[in-house]
Symmetry: C2
Subunit: 342 residues, 2 copies
DNA sequence: TTGTAGGCGTTATCAG
DNA sequence: CTGATAACGCCTACAA
């Protein structure tokens, strides 16, 4: 029933020129400097382009121009609303600069991240924004040194090869624990992992510092390590928590992200414990679902949109400003208290 | 403090050949047919490539080859977990075919969708998977007719210019309402919109059909139109619902997606109504957050992963199989009953 | 205003 | 294995 495509991307500027009875240069001018072409011929050329289904070949353009008009954002987990919110910020900034953005999902896998990086570098994208599996990966630094502007998003660490945009995770961890201590909790679980993840490490560090500063016993800050930062892992942490003898069971939990917190919340309520009565919960990221949970979640908010916007503008600066200097931008997190901590 | 990049993508095959003291053709062979090069020279060339920081220029390759090794998925809302789950299915299938996938977010805006389509076509991507703002948009059909393989995801409508992969939304709406009727509800709200969205239209149609088939009065199926399918809109619908006089207030709601349902759930509980006691709720999509809600949500599940996988394999078939015929694949949804409907 | 002639980097071909 | 050469499609000088 269907018909064959009229053309399979056949028409080139040359074909258009021939069909319109003008020179190749004129067609090019219609495309790039329409003002230098008489309205009559311009219109004719445009009509022919439409008839022939002419589509500019971006590869050829880029080959000649040397660089492209697209930005890429390589994320750890496209399913985590935190990252899609950052991406929205990037989109906004890119819109203003007439660039387009593509999202690449590494799904927490180093091999996929590397494959994306390789491809993006070969495509000579204008810049790469990335929340890396491992910010110390050699490949990442190599790409930066070879000249592709890279901005690392959501890492506080100082890194010489690129700009970074991050939120102060140590402070975030501190805010969460100070809040819980202020609510009277004297035995608190910290849920997250693997600790090799930079953010988790820093949030834990802040949590411990606040705990010690409050004069409490480090042994009462109970680490509950997870293998990933997902809802399912949050549920599993909840089961482990429930399995502890009641004397040693924490009365509150600080989760390293909201997905974990939501899983923990669900498991707790589902097994008859009340939140925050039996267990107070603090999450991290303040994703939209945190406020929408039936027991609205107290969470540490990060300026996600701003994070994305800033990252995009840094990568733009690096790719256009010859005097660009790498910089480390750090934003300040903020605790949003809701019902899950009373 | 930082150092200038060693090279700004300068080295080309020609440079490598010169530096390694071999011919350009040999370098090309090292890259594309390593077996035809003696191990000694091959190793030397590879070493030089590393030293010079040689990076293949994808534009040049593509210009010569005619087409690329990437697939694009243009989504309506990158923040909706439903789409990221579909994307995961696409990723899997693409991995098997050694293709990479980029995600483009149209954010429900026709202009952004059009910009993405234009760019992707100009880049000669192998194929485009898309959940379009409007499946009847002229631009979409034009791109398909000009020869870029396109698969429309999540639309049941018959469309001549491309393959489609979808779930039977009419049946889904029917399942939801039959479930509620079976639970004894005789006045039900249907929440969603705008109704110009194909899925919403079909889910409503199924809901109405089931309602009428049960011998109930159409006037008791109360439409509550929203301007978007978001959590915030779900909350707003909840407020409108609460404003109805109790005689006329529905005892249950069927929401056209889970984001709406979660918003409605939150608003209901937050304002002191019990779920499902005062209001039973059925969502749609069965995203992970649906099960994780503190009152786990009854929802109509779609085989998201399968949807993505199938879409990817169809687009691959179209781009490689000369005998390809467009087809419409429809999956069957399934109701998952949870606590929100008791 | 229009036409013509390179050249971007890669790959493939063909004769040595 | 080398070396030379011709595309791929586009853009920009420069020349007419």
């Amino acid at each position: 029933m269907q018909e064959a495509p009229v053309s399979v991307h056949s028409a080139s500027v040359k074909d258009v020129a021939a069909a319109a009875g003008v020179s190749l240069g004129t067609v090019s001018n219609v495309l790039n400097r329409p003002d230098r072409v008489s309205p009559a011929t311009r219109e004719r050329v445009e009509r022919v382009m439409a008839e022939l289904g002419f589509v500019r070949n971006e590869s050829a353009r880029q080959l000649r121009a040397g660089r492209s008009r697209t930005l890429a954002y390589v994320v750890l987990d496209a399913g985590n609303p935190f990252f899609t919110d950052v991406a929205a910020g990037i989109d906004d900034a890119a819109d203003d600069a007439a660039l387009s953005v593509v999202l690449c999902n590494s799904a927490n896998r180093a091999d996929r991240e590397a494959a994306h990086l390789t491809r993006l570098e070969q495509q000579r994208v204008q810049g790469i924004l990335i929340t890396p599996v491992d910010p110390d990966a050699v490949a990442l630094h190599q790409v930066a040194r070879r000249g592709t502007p890279i901005v690392v998003v959501d890492r506080t660490r100082r890194l010489e090869d690129f700009c970074t945009v991050a939120v102060d995770d140590v402070l975030g961890g501190r805010l969460a624990v100070e809040h819980l201590v202020g609510r009277g909790h004297r035995r608190v679980a910290v849920v997250g992992g693997p600790t090799s993840i930079g953010q988790v490490h820093d949030r834990y560090a802040g949590a411990r510092a606040a705990w010690v500063d409050a004069g409490l016993d480090p042994a009462d800050l109970v680490p509950l390590e997870t293998v990933a930062m997902t809802v399912a892992e949050g549920r599993s942490a909840g089961e482990r928590l429930a399995g502890l003898p009641s004397r040693r069971r924490p009365t509150a939990a600080f989760c390293a992200n909201d997905l974990l917190a939501l899983g923990l919340l669900q498991q707790s309520i589902g097994s008859g414990r009340s939140v925050p009565g039996d267990l107070a919960i603090v999450g991290y990221d303040d994703i939209e679902f945190a406020a929408a949970a039936a027991v609205p979640l107290t969470s540490v908010r990060q300026p996600r949109h701003q994070l994305g916007r800033t990252a995009a503008s840094l990568v733009l600066d690096e790719s256009t400003n010859p005097d660009h200097r790498h910089q480390q931008v750090t934003f300040t997190p903020e605790l949003v208290a809701r019902a899950s901590t009373l």
